[in-house]
């Protein structure tokens, strides 16, 4: 019996890009927390693009690839988390 490779299991390129942006976003989120400096304004537009690409990639193929799904989730989760943190910074007095 031979080994079969399935073309649909390959990651779509925009899914990979989406994951890459999400991964970079995650690294930047860690840097932001550790250095207490705000890089989120830099990051937010990319997160939107990454989230959008991830979303599109999910609908491009009938079989969802892991990294596309993860990329989409990462971007969306980081976006929502950033918005929440910015909101809570706003309600705590004097925090920058």
């Amino acid at each position: 019996m031979g080994i079969r490779t399935k073309r649909n299991h390959e990651e779509p390129l925009i899914g990979l890009i989406s994951f890459g942006i999400g991964f970079l976003g995650l690294i930047l989120a860690n840097v932001t927390i550790l250095t207490q400096k705000m890089y989120l304004e830099l990051l937010l537009p990319f997160l939107f693009i990454g989230g959008g690409l991830g979303f599109i990639s999910l609908f491009l193929k009938r079989r969802k690839s892991t990294l596309s799904l993860l990329g989409f989730l990462l971007n969306v989760v980081i976006l929502i988390s950033s918005a929440l943190v910015v909101h809570y910074i706003g309600v705590i007095h004097n925090l920058p």
């Binding site: 031979g2 909101h87 309600v91 004097n94 925090l95």
Partner: protein, 363 residues
């Protein structure tokens, strides 16, 4: 199956020769389109076996290694995502923990308690609410409060308090004073304002003497003890026509006569500033003081740690104030030294202690 196959072949022959009716022709074309879609799907779904492709052993091995490498990279990326998510997720949870509840969130409540505790338990010391330095870490909130004291017309920074919360538990408080004189003037044991019924009442002779030796052109901070309890609103009338600024009222809360609790521990004096705030001070009322005392009672554990006190007895003191009203037994004031010296002849002034002295800063 065979009949179906033969029928289809026959139809194809007739289609080729153009002998089918219009309807039959359309039906056959639709079937052919369906087959194309099936074929595309199968082509896309299954590539031919490696053996069918006639791949060499070496190529097969390469493909297997490539697949293995891809799997390892995918697992490593997933692992990295999980690891990198710990800090942001923890920080987000921390922000939600401290910030939940909008204006009445835990962080704000803690900062209010910290600033009010300093204002109420340290005579003539206030915290600048506009210059808090807070930092939210992983399950922690640390804050640094600058403390200010007024002598003459100027506010002088005397030090800071570093506070560290772990969840809602106040772990440690660092009291940093810029000089030893500031540090000793804020010591709980060194009470400077005395209740009129303290026995024996400490003599102020030396303090009056020191005050009289100070040259003109200086301003001083003075801790004044009265001969009896007064309503804070009557204090200005008692002091007569001397040029001064009243800064802080010492309030009788039932422990000041003995100055110690049942266990013999010195009890921190409690009072409130005449004006609340550093940059935009607002006159503080007795009602506001009462409200602050209530809030500190609700957060007594934090207050005691911030105030360097083993026990502030806030519940008992609040009950005493509720029963007896808000009465003052002394004040902290500032003014030109020669003006303060005039208090020696004031019959309402029972004692005085000198605080900080500065060069002339007065209106």
């Amino acid at each position: 199956m065979m009949t179906l196959d033969n029928e289809f072949r026959k139809k194809l022959e007739l289609y080729k020769e153009g002998k089918l009716s219009q309807a039959e022709e359309e039906e056959l074309e639709q079937d052919l389109e369906k087959f194309e879609v099936y074929q595309d799907f199968l082509d896309e779904e299954f590539e031919p076996d490696m053996e069918e492709q006639g791949l060499s052993e070496e190529k097969k091995l390469k493909l297997i290694n490539l697949g293995r490498r891809k799997a390892v990279i995918k697992a490593a990326l997933l692992g990295s995502v999980l690891l990198l998510s710990i800090l942001p997720a923890g920080t987000l949870l921390t922000y939600i923990f401290y910030g939940y509840g909008e204006e009445q969130n835990m962080a704000n409540r803690f900062l209010d308690v910290a600033s009010d505790t300093v204002m109420v338990t340290e005579p003539n010391v206030q915290v600048d609410r506009n210059k808090f330095h807070e930092q939210v870490g992983l399950f922690t909130l640390s804050a640094n409060l600058d403390m200010w004291k007024q002598v003459g017309t100027e506010q002088t920074r005397i030090g800071d308090k570093g506070l560290n919360l772990w969840f809602s538990n106040l772990e440690n408080v660092d009291h940093n004073y810029l000089s030893d004189s500031f540090s000793s003037s804020q010591k709980v044991k060194d009470l400077k304002i005395h209740h009129p019924n303290v026995s024996p009442f400490p003599s102020s002779e030396k303090e009056w003497q020191r005050l009289s030796q100070l040259p003109e052109g200086t301003v001083a901070e003075a801790y004044v003890s009265f001969d009896k309890l007064y309503d804070p609103n009557d204090v200005e009338n008692l002091l007569g026509n001397i040029d001064h600024k009243t800064l802080w009222y010492a309030i009788d809360t039932g422990y000041e006569k003995e100055q110690k609790d049942k266990n013999g521990v010195v009890v921190t004096p409690i009072g409130y500033p005449v004006q609340n705030g550093i940059e935009n001070p607002k006159k503080m009322t007795t009602e506001e003081f009462h409200q602050i005392l209530k809030e500190l009672t609700e957060n007594e554990e934090w207050s005691e740690k911030i105030a360097k006190s083993r026990d502030l007895h806030l519940k008992e003191r609040l009950a005493y104030v509720n029963k007896n009203g808000i009465k003052t037994y002394g004040i902290v004031m500032t003014g030109p030294t020669k003006e303060i010296l005039k208090l020696k002849d004031n019959k309402h002034v029972k004692g005085l202690e000198l605080g900080e002295v500065e060069l002339w800063q007065w209106e």
